[in-house]
Symmetry: D2
Subunit: 292 residues, 4 copies
């Protein structure tokens, strides 16, 4: 076969949107888990691309089956642990260099009833989705990122935006008290040595992050979305020493004050148009200094 003019670059493949619900049927109550799982593999799959030779290719259907089979007995802890089990399994194939597992866990809560929390009925809050991104190499090295996605938050004061650049295309007025609303994605990376500890408690770490995020979001004064990220990311790392970095992707969902003057009314920060389009989008990572 003649040498090709082309070569294969970065590539990965896998199965996405594996929808998975498990029910653990305890003596007095049931426990419910609801996950969307994606598996992706990197490795020696060149022949599949360049010669149509599927030898060694793990079918994405097999990945799906594996996820369901593992869920039977091994989805008992936080999603990070389940992702690691899956990724380690796939990283064990000879052809695989790196196995990546992404999980979105959709929280459910027990339905509150007149007789207390239901043992076997659930409803789904939407405060956020728990997300996990795990990569395991064939040699066993691991990376663990966790996060919260679609976290919809609003501050009705303690947010300003002043002192910015003004050029010929600038019409925005400075404002020292505005509404700040967002649908945030925050992710954080665990130090590899901590995440590798047997029994590292990802659930407790995640809870500490969530509490720090909520408290700092509510309490800080925001001179800009950029500054808010710096402040909240710092609060998270202050609260959780096992974390090396925090990334926030934070849309600024503008709430515009409605001009009510034509109707003989003032509007001292009371009535707003809620918009999603266009929106500001701030994406920044804050890292722990090596010698911090």
């Amino acid at each position: 076969m003649p040498e090709s003019d082309y070569e294969l670059g970065e590539n990965r493949y896998g199965k996405s949107r594996i929808r998975l619900v498990t029910v653990r049927r305890g003596e007095t109550q049931h426990d419910l888990r609801d996950l969307t799982v994606a598996v992706a593999l990197e490795g020696d799959f060149d022949a599949a691309h360049t010669h149509g030779d599927n030898t060694g290719v793990i079918a994405t259907d097999t990945m799906k089956n594996t996820v369901y089979a593992f869920a039977r007995d091994r989805l008992t802890g936080p999603p990070e642990a389940f992702a690691l089990e899956l990724a380690r399994h796939f990283a064990g194939y000879d052809v695989v260099d790196k196995a990546i597992v992404d999980i979105a866990e959709h929280p459910w809560m027990r339905v509150p009833t007149d007789a207390g929390p239901a043992p076997d009925a659930f409803h789904r809050p939407g405060f956020f989705t728990r997300v996990v991104h795990v990569a395991v190499s064939h040699s066993g090295a691991i990376e663990v990122e966790s996060g919260l996605d679609d976290m919809t938050l609003m501050k009705t004061t303690k947010s300003a935006f002043t002192g910015f650049d003004r050029d010929r295309y600038t019409t925005l007025a400075e404002v020292d008290d505005r509404v700040m609303a967002t649908k945030m994605r925050v992710t954080w990376g665990y130090a590899s040595d901590r995440a590798s500890e047997a029994g590292f408690d990802f659930a407790a770490a995640g809870d500490r992050v969530g509490a720090a995020l909520r408290t700092s979001f509510a309490e800080h004064f925001s001179p800009s979305v950029q500054a808010s990220i710096w402040i909240m990311a710092g609060a998270i790392m202050d609260a959780e020493p096992s974390i090396d970095w925090v990334r926030m992707v934070l849309p600024n969902l503008h709430h515009w004050t409605v001009n009510l003057e034509p109707f003989g009314l003032d509007n001292p920060g009371q009535v707003f148009v809620s918009t999603t389009e266009p929106h500001g989008l701030i994406d920044a990572t804050v890292r722990r200094r090596a010698s911090g």
Copy 2:
């Protein structure tokens, strides 16, 4: 002008997707409301259609302005009251026969912080959207419907489906213990005399409905989705005498038990594929008997 071969039938027009956030800035804390409002009018708008004569046509932009202006001071109670104020305003125009206002209220909660609930920071749960449908006629007659939409619920037991018809196209097995999941829309209609009372407490009525719905959902045994509607609708009307009828549109979001036998595992109701497509869809109204 020659008589047309055609005539105008049912028609209405208005403004939809009016996005509205209000902030009430109290001494110690803020209150937040977040509504999506739609206004529609029926009336004598034939000339606008048939002759391009816009005399008397209330611009949909004017409707939007009115919603924002009214929100300045009048959005202080439940969405039903705000919808009624708006609908009464529009029903007062000479050309209007009927004004219809639909509101979806998106609940927000105070962010929990280390120092307690935040006074001026909020996050958005997704348990449900509060919906309101109000119609006011030019003569002043009113209809008030309230509801909960996008209410995602799951029962992990006490649900069965047996004894149904079997014909040549039937392959479904009878099952005496299944998962029942839904993303429900439930609406209810208030008796006109009750809804017309000055100061009728829609918020308290809505809370009683919600509690009855949650408790009955969790506690009842479901021989079918149809029966579940009958049982839950009855529980709602038992709890709230001001309601004449309850309608439930209840998709049956199937959770299929995964066959794990090929992997040497049993699956006694533990691992499910969560699906949305296709889904059963049951839509039924239960009414209080006139002489009930």
Copy 3:
């Protein structure tokens, strides 16, 4: 059993979002169909609701199976014919008063290649979705509605809005040349005697409707969206005598002229912000007069 305080009102049930693709493998080329089908039944299902008695209940899973089985050999003509076959089948059950079948057909076209249209490769345009709504009663009476949904259209001139009502909440300026954009749903009802004819050509009728709609949309001068509906609906009924009525649900997706004066530029109808929220929404039916 004691008589209940409640009674069952309007109710129906069925299966929604049945996704169906068929491939007909001809000698020289393949033909592709892509439908989303919903089946709903009305009838004597009271006992299922009120007593949990599923006798006679046709499982929605059976409906799904039937749709796929019928698609094997009977999906050879327009979606109206397939919907009628399905609805007649379900209307034949003793317990059924009325069977309703809704179909959305997603058009695909042959991929254009250097060698001409592909015999067995397709791509999917998004001009519109073909929709069909059919109801058949147990006695055999039929209703057939057809339509086009999600039809995204824009006129860049020949649209105005003047002479409308001005009150204290009106700020909208009159405009004699605006952009009119919409994502329309248009449906039409066939006269029962015509739709009942063996071999009535729904496809040809639909084509005539589409052509009349496109031509009238492009050519007419619009003094308002209301008038546009009247004009286009009339053009459709002029073109297709088998149609009794036309309904249009027509959002007015506003395109606002951007104010470029701060940047030293005029903007004579050149640069627009495209919006979807809020939007006007006009919903009107035009009927053929009985003695038209």
Copy 4:
């Protein structure tokens, strides 16, 4: 100020979802453009994050204004050229290291009427969205990527999947004739020297890519999605020498053959369930060899 334990990592900010429609009003007909634009900047914005100092920060509102102002006179060619003009403008600010502009162009076509293509009425096909990603550094270096997104394609034959790995979790049968459907994102990178040529014809290049993609998609035999990417990417680079690499993100939207045996019917590749969840996902880049 004490040195922080933390440092700012990767960061960028900008404005997303800038919705933009332009109308060019020619003598005999109008021309319509419909874009969604996003601007993002990287540069010396540390003080904004770490000290709440907005000096030099270009407000995202200013970015939006700039996009609309530039659209007045400069959106006359392909989206790549408009993106480059915008990115060069933003890269010219002293604080900016790199300006990134992403454009999605939504194609519209003239409405076909009985009198031919309309001069001033348009409808929107959905074959694909044209996407452009441009980065310009402060020193003037440019990168230009173009692409097609949401391109929905189906092959009804000439697709197989055999010879893959079988392990304890494998249940998938080998299949030598299957349906292959996808909603693809394909992007390609221009050689910098070519993209930097004054007057390089991005539109013509994009047309050649589109033609090569469509023809190769339709004509090739696919032993796997991986192989399809290799084949189609090669065909694209064969057709367009200015391109250095092609990346395809190709979900495998499974179409499962329905088992009709319970109903006494065979199903030789005729009736399929169309699914989106779960789906395979293949992501690969093919590069031209340096000395190719």
